[in-house]
Symmetry: C2
Subunit: 244 residues, 2 copies
Amino acid sequence: MQALRSIERSGICGEPIACVGCEARARGVCGALAGDQLVSLSRVSDRRVIRPGEHVGRAAGESESVSNILSGVVSLAKRLPDGRQQIVGLQFAPTLVGRPIAGDDAIEATAAGPVRVCTIPRSAFEGVLTANQAFERRVLSQALSQLDETRDLLVTLARKTALERVATYINMVVRHARPVGSPGEPGEIPLPLSRGEMADFLGLTIETVSRKMTELRKAKIVDFANAASLRILSQTRLDQAAGG
Amino acid sequence: MQALRSIERSGICGEPIACVGCEARARGVCGALAGDQLVSLSRVSDRRVIRPGEHVGRAAGESESVSNILSGVVSLAKRLPDGRQQIVGLQFAPTLVGRPIAGDDAIEATAAGPVRVCTIPRSAFEGVLTANQAFERRVLSQALSQLDETRDLLVTLARKTALERVATYINMVVRHARPVGSPGEPGEIPLPLSRGEMADFLGLTIETVSRKMTELRKAKIVDFANAASLRILSQTRLDQAAGG
DNA sequence: CGTCGGGTTGAGAATGGTCAACTTCAGTGG
DNA sequence: CCACTGAAGTTGACCATTCTCAACCCGACG
């Protein structure tokens, strides 16, 4: 969780050094920012690395904040009073974690694997939200995308079989692993979640996830030597197994 | 689907007649509008009544639009290629139905019971979104609320038992039936969804919903003469049955 | 009075959960 | 280098919840 704060500017056009080449600037909400706004935001923002299993945005009693994911995967989990829990979303770079505007939440954002984030106090974030309408539009757009994704996940959990859910998850990871143009068959794809986290995400148990992974392997749809990565043997049949 | 278009203004302060006393104006996104903006929006908006089972916002080959629910309940459903379907959200007044900004959707918004809406062409809606930042903020806020609700539903479907889901649904209806201050034990509460729709919403089958309703009745937690409404006998035990 | 849609109830099947044993592998210390 | 340990993963046997299929009920409506 080392703080890499940088408030220097790069020489050329006044863009803060921390923001040069940043994923959030290229494709995330910060793309709407320039000049003074970017500089003043970068002055209060804080780049850090979150270790696997640590919470995002609640580092050591600090106040409410919003974080931009720069790399890695963050899981959002909710918990029922009796302890049952469910991962309600996985977020990849470059998306926002944390409430952009006030509201009760009770969501746990946890780093699945190492995650780099750029954290901004919520007060500062809200300031930019109000000062820059293009920024607010991007936040709205991102919220709507997350709504869509959450609804898709809802259908998956409510209507798909265990095998379909596992296949759907693998497909989801594959889509994020190959950023844009998809080369036919890549090599080993790292799985960001452990079996237990997959179970939490897919509304299953560890045992069922394990069984269905084995089933996919025995059906020669995927193959893997270790549990944490795999290789797609037939994308077609994987899509089929994912059931839409 | 009668069109009740009204572009007249009320005498007093220039508020369009159609907007006087409107739910969407009191608590919905239109609360951010006044004067000319409200007038010009009301000029292109269209109040109509949607009959049960009809789709919202796709009336007879019209272009893309956004609708504000004035009264009634709208269900949002997604469908898998093989026909399995799932209701991914229920929306009550005064919330927006339809994509505020572009994006692919494939969601079916259907009236569950009679619904009154105020429909606005998306182009006009986007115009207001850009012209009035308070309006955009309300849209963002509503999107975030929907995200929260969808995540709650996700946990319910992924982790709760059939009985808990049915009880959770009843509680949800109760909360919307008693708008604000809840008088202890009200009378008959109408259930907006049929058993089949409840099943689609809760990720169950009609038979299981029916059985669990019976179970709740036999346990004297609720009571009902007809299938379409019920009476709460013990809110405490209902909360308990809903499991958080 | 018959039919139709929606709802309820029952019996049996099946999917996924539970509990428990076992394997694998990384890390540790002899 | 090897044995030990603990965490993560796999596999198996059994069980429970929910689904499937089918019959039946009931009220609305012709």
